[in-house]
Each structure stands twice: as C-alpha cells, then as structure tokens.
C-alpha cells in the first residue's frame, strides 16, 4: 500500500508491507523495520532497531494528530493515487506538456471549458469523479483551449488525453 504523508508542508511517499506484527515501512528513501503493537485504542508501541517509541494517534477531520516523544505532529495522509489527482490538477502547466491527461480511471462529471476559450491560472478545466471523489482540475497558467476530447458522463482511462491547450 502506498500513501503520501504531508507533514510540516513536506510530502513524502510512504509504502508499507506487513508480515504479522512486523512492518516494512519505506518513508521517502529510507526503509524502517518496525515491530508495531496496538496497546490501547489509538496507542501504538513501536520497536525500531531496539528503540522503543509510544505514539498516540488521533484522527481529527481527516488530519492525523500524532503525539510522540513529547512532540505533536499533524499529518495529512492520502492514498497515493488520490494525492496524485489532487496535486496534478495543474497538468497543463510547464513547457513539457500542454495537455491534460487523466491520472487514473474515472468518469468525467463536468467539462468547464470549450474549444477556443481563454483561461487564466486557477480556472477550472474539468472535473473527474474517481474513488467516490469529485476531483477538480485547474489550469496552471493562462492559455487558449485548442481541443476538448471528452464530454460529461464519459468514462476515461488513466493516460487518456482530456484537453489540449494551444
């Protein structure tokens, strides 16, 4: 399972695999071998290389609050695909690509622009429904819409080109 953890404005990819009570957790480039037990609801006893940590974990409005070592952390956790959808919303930006492609399979719930429209940065281009979420895609820069290849209600696959900017 892959997640993206955003902590102190820093996003890291986290991958976990388990074998009973032992977990292999990859945080960015580092791999941690973790013996984890839940000792009380929301309380995690972690043994990592013999070092003992006890963490209290509270989920509050989608933000994970973790108290450990006298410090308190707020962590936003997203399943990786979901994170990709959210942050790739500006896929039309940059010099490398002037096309908006679907990052994962879903259904177009709304197309907000037509061919020939001029858009500013932040304008909504279209909305894809995926993983039961409405994911809004916005223009990352100003430009003209050269092509709209999808219509509302249409199913799309990952990698499909949705909009081409002129």
């Amino acid at each position: 399972m892959k997640y993206v953890a955003t902590i102190n404005d820093d996003a890291r990819v986290v991958e976990i695999q388990n074998d009973g009570d032992r977990w292999r957790v990859r945080v960015g480039d580092e791999v941690w071998d973790v013996d984890a037990r839940i000792t009380a609801p929301g309380v995690y006893s972690l043994l990592i290389d013999g070092v003992s940590y006890t963490a209290g974990v509270l989920d509050r409005d989608g933000v994970c609050v973790v108290d450990v070592g006298g410090e308190s952390y707020e962590i936003v956790l997203e399943e990786q695909t979901r994170h990709t959808i959210r942050t790739l919303g500006g896929a039309t930006g940059g010099t490398r690509s002037r096309t908006l492609t679907a990052p994962l399979p879903g259904k177009i719930s709304r197309v907000a622009v037509r061919r020939g429209d001029t858009v500013q940065a932040g304008d909504t281009l279209l909305v894809i429904e995926a993983m039961k979420m409405e994911n809004e895609f916005k223009a990352s820069g100003a430009g003209t819409v050269a092509e709209v290849r999808v219509t509302a209600g249409q199913a799309v696959n990952a990698g499909d080109v949705l909009i081409v900017m002129g």
Binding site: Y3, A5, V25, D59, E71, S72
Partner: protein
C-alpha cells in the same frame, strides 16, 4: 460540630478531590450532577449522587435553591463549593447557613468584604497593604473610565469587580481602545458573574503573579502557608504553578505573608483563602485581590508544606482550632503543577471537547495526578476545559522540572487535543528553567512554541500510516462493538477495547 455528610456543589477534578478528603476523614459524600455529567467521575466516587438539572451551569451547578434542597433531602449537614461556580457567591453561603448547612468556606460577610474586588481594595488601602494605583470603585460610565485611566496612566487593566479566572479582564494600552475594551469586559463580566461592574488599575509591566495561601479558624487564628508563583498564564488564566517562588527570599515571604494575614484578620476571614499579589522586577509587591475559596493550584502548597488543605478546610468548618501555629509551618523542596486542559495550544487554545479513547496517566515517585477524567469519558462542551492537574515534587526546582518533564512524557491522552505538548515545551524552555518568569512569559514565547522540532517526524509518519492501515482494515469489524448497548460502553474501562 462534627460534619457527618457533605454535599459537593461542584464537578470535575475538584469534586473528586473533595470527596477523597471526606473519605479520609470519615465523612459521607453527596455528589450533584447535571444532565451532561451522569457519567462524570465525581458521580462515581461519591457515596450518593443526585441530578440537579440541565447541562448549562446556569440550570444546574449555579441554581442555589436546588443545591440546598438536594443537600437537605440527602441529609447532608455541610456543603463544599469547590472553586468556580458558586464558591464565591455570598448568597449561596447565606442560603446554606439559613438551611442549617455548614458552608465550607468563609462567612458571607467576609466573602462580601473580600470577594468584591473594589471593597477588598478599600480595606487594603485602610490597612496600608501596598496596591497598584487604580479606582477603588467600579467605573460607572465610559467618561468616568476615560478620566480615571488618564489619571492612573496607560497602560491600564480593566477588571471585573466580581471577577476571577481572567474573565472580564482587558489590557488597554491606548485611550482610543478604551471604549471597546470596556464594552467587552462588561459583557464578559456580566455573562460570567451576573454583574458587569468593572474597575481600572495601572497595568504593571511584566509582573510576576505570586499569591499567599492563608488559613484562618473561627477562634481568631490566622496563619499563612507561603506563596505560589502562577506567572505562566494565557489570557489571564493560569497554566503552570509552583511553590515556592524562585523570586522570593524568606524576608519577602514573611512580609507578604504578614500582609495577607493582616487583610484576612481585618475582613473577619475564616477558612482557606488566597491573597494574590503582583510583584514587579524590583520585588515590590502589590495587593491584587483575594480569592475566598480553595484555589485550583492548592496542591503545590500541600506538597511542600505537607498540609492537606481540604482536611484543614473541613476541620475549620467544624469549628476546630488550627493545629499549627505560624512557626510550625515549614517548606520543604519544590512542587510544580501543570494544568492538563482539553485545548489545542497550537490553535489559539481552542477548546477540544470529545471522547477520550485512550488514557494513560503518569505515576511513579512524587507524582500526583488530580484527575476528573477516565478512559472512555466524554469531555462535555459545557464546562471549563480542565481535565486534570499534574503535580510533582522534587528536592529542588531542577529536580521538580525534570520530574515534570518525565511525568508529562508518560501522560497519554488520545481522543482530544491537550495542553501537554505545550506544557512540555514551556517547562523545557531555558527562561522557565532559569526562573525568568512573568505574566507576559507565555505570550512572549508562544510564537516560537512549535508543536514539534521535526525530530520524530519519521516515527510520527509511521504511526499515522499504521493507524490508517488499521482503520481501513478494521471498518468491517465495527458492528461487533456497535452491538454493545450504550450504557455498557459508557464509563466502563476496558469494555470497549477490541
């Protein structure tokens, strides 16, 4: 007259504290509870408990008639008011007396004399106890206030005449801010104390808040039990208290103690009380106000003097003489108290009510946790945010600080945000450790008070991911615990564990 059965007209940790003292003295106890508090710990620890009304305090814990009736119906012969609520309400003390109930606190006359801040200031002036310059009476109009403020000199502090706990207090630096501050202070005072009268004082810049604990019996004996320093405050509400103060020497302690006893004696004060002073950088002390009740922070005095203040209160109320003279009071070592509140210290101290899903309280040598919560308890949104008071003792201040850090490290509350991470960082702060305190300390260090230094970031991420993984896996098994009837789940430790 010996007390046989006592009604505690309060809730939370202080109600539990009073019940404990009663049990140690062989006094039966009666708890009262609002609709929001049926599952509160004080209901469980008392011998009897009776409902007194709806959740808002104004419909339960503040209804004098109902409390008095409940006490009589339960056959109680005494009432302990705790702190807050009706503890400084002379009408309540009188109503108890009229119903033949011993009120564990000062007589209504002394309460009026000292409880009204303006009357207390008049008395202090007569006795030559030093005071911060200010108005003796409440200011009637905005124009009067503006005039008085100009005479006293800015910055001025607005205070509720009937106040306490920081409510109705406003610091005003400039004349143009006065009208708005007056309006806000009056509204807050009216809501909190049913009396919107406010008075003015010159604001002492970066003072220390140091208070003297006194006890007085009905035979005219008054002694003091030394000081508590309560300079660590946010919005005029205390967060960390200690005994003794690193700022006082024996001579200053004796002078402040003597002034406090003089005031208490002149007011005809009986029972435990606290005289609050501001102490400026040159060690001048100024009378602030008297709290005619047991203070939240009383345990630090108990730990250092070895005197159980609630026991003393109950003995005094029963008409017994003080067992100690001033010369018998000795101070040993150092005690610190931290207030563990259901608040988010990194989001403006916003209240954080909710259910405590997991709780591990600290223990071990010289650690005391005066708590009003348990695992599975829901902190109601109707009352103040204090969940527990963590008190430690050490041979000296350094030992006490290290012990407090150790104990805070053991304290784990899951389900609500708490002040614990902020308390940890304050105690560890170099200025706190060096004893460089003032009531402006917290506001000064707050911007730098971050929830973390990133030291444990990977560990926190690992714990969060494990929890998320667990949640995703666990959701289908939820019906099992949901099948438990609500009354079985509530308040019974361990039953809700998977």
């Amino acid at each position: 007259m010996k007390i046989k059965k006592l009604l505690v007209a309060n809730r939370g940790e202080i109600a539990v504290r009073v019940v404990r003292a009663c049990r140690e003295l062989g006094i039966a106890t009666v708890a009262v509870y609002s609709e929001a508090d049926r599952e509160a710990p004080h209901v469980q620890v008392a011998d009897e408990a009776y409902a007194i009304g709806a959740a808002p305090a104004s419909e339960s814990y503040l209804v004098i008639d109902r409390l008095v009736q409940t006490a009589r119906r339960a056959g109680a012969d005494a009432v302990h008011p705790g702190y807050g609520f009706l503890s400084e309400n002379a009408l309540f003390a009188e109503a108890c007396a009229q119903a033949g109930l011993t009120f564990v606190g000062p007589p209504a006359t002394a309460m009026r004399r000292m409880g009204s801040k303006t009357a207390a200031r008049t008395l202090a002036r007569e006795l030559g106890v030093p005071m911060v310059p200010g108005t003796l009476d409440a200011v009637a109009t905005d124009a009067d206030a503006a005039l008085a403020a100009r005479e006293i000199g800015y910055p001025v502090m607005l205070k509720a005449a009937m106040g306490g706990g920081g409510k109705g207090m406003r610091l005003v630096r400039r004349a143009e801010d006065l009208p708005e501050a007056l309006r806000a202070a009056r509204a807050e005072a009216g809501a909190a104390f049913g009396d919107s009268a406010v008075y003015l004082e010159r604001a002492v810049v970066e003072p220390r808040h140091i208070e003297i604990q006194i006890v007085a019996d009905t035979h005219g004996n008054v002694i003091h039990l030394g000081e508590r320093e309560c300079s660590i405050q946010r919005r005029h509400q205390k967060l960390i208290e200690e005994c003794p103060s690193s700022f006082l020497d024996a001579a200053l302690r004796a002078r402040m103690g003597e002034a406090a006893c003089r005031l208490a004696r002149a007011a005809g004060y009986v029972n435990a009380g606290t005289v609050e002073f501001l102490v400026d950088a040159d060690r001048n002390f100024y009378f602030l106000e008297m709290n005619t009740r047991l203070q939240v922070e009383h345990p630090v005095t108990e730990m250092v003097t070895g005197i159980d203040l609630v026991h003393e209160q109950l003995r005094i109320a029963a008409g017994e003489k003080l067992t100690l003279g001033q010369a018998d009071v000795a101070w040993r070592g150092w005690a610190i108290e931290c207030r563990v509140n259901a608040e988010d210290p990194f989001a403006g101290w916003l209240p954080s009510p909710g259910t405590i899903t997991s709780l591990h309280a600290p223990a071990g040598p010289w650690v005391r946790d005066d708590s009003g919560i348990y695992e599975g308890y829901t902190v109601p949104r109707f009352y103040d945010t204090l969940m527990s008071k963590l008190i430690v003792w050490g041979a000296d201040r350094d030992v006490a600080c290290e012990r407090m850090l150790r104990a805070l490290g053991e304290y784990r509350v899951v389900g609500v945000r708490t002040t614990i991470p902020a308390l940890t960082r304050i105690i560890a702060h170099p200025d706190f450790r060096a004893g460089r305190l003032s009531t402006a300390f917290l506001e000064r260090v707050l911007p730098d008070l971050r929830p973390n230094d990133g030291r444990f970031a990977p560990i926190a991420v690992i714990a969060a991911v494990l929890a998320e993984h667990e949640r995703a896996r666990d959701i289908p098994t939820a019906p099992e615990s949901a099948a438990l009837p609500a009354w079985r789940v509530a308040g019974i430790r361990g039953w809700t564990r998977p």
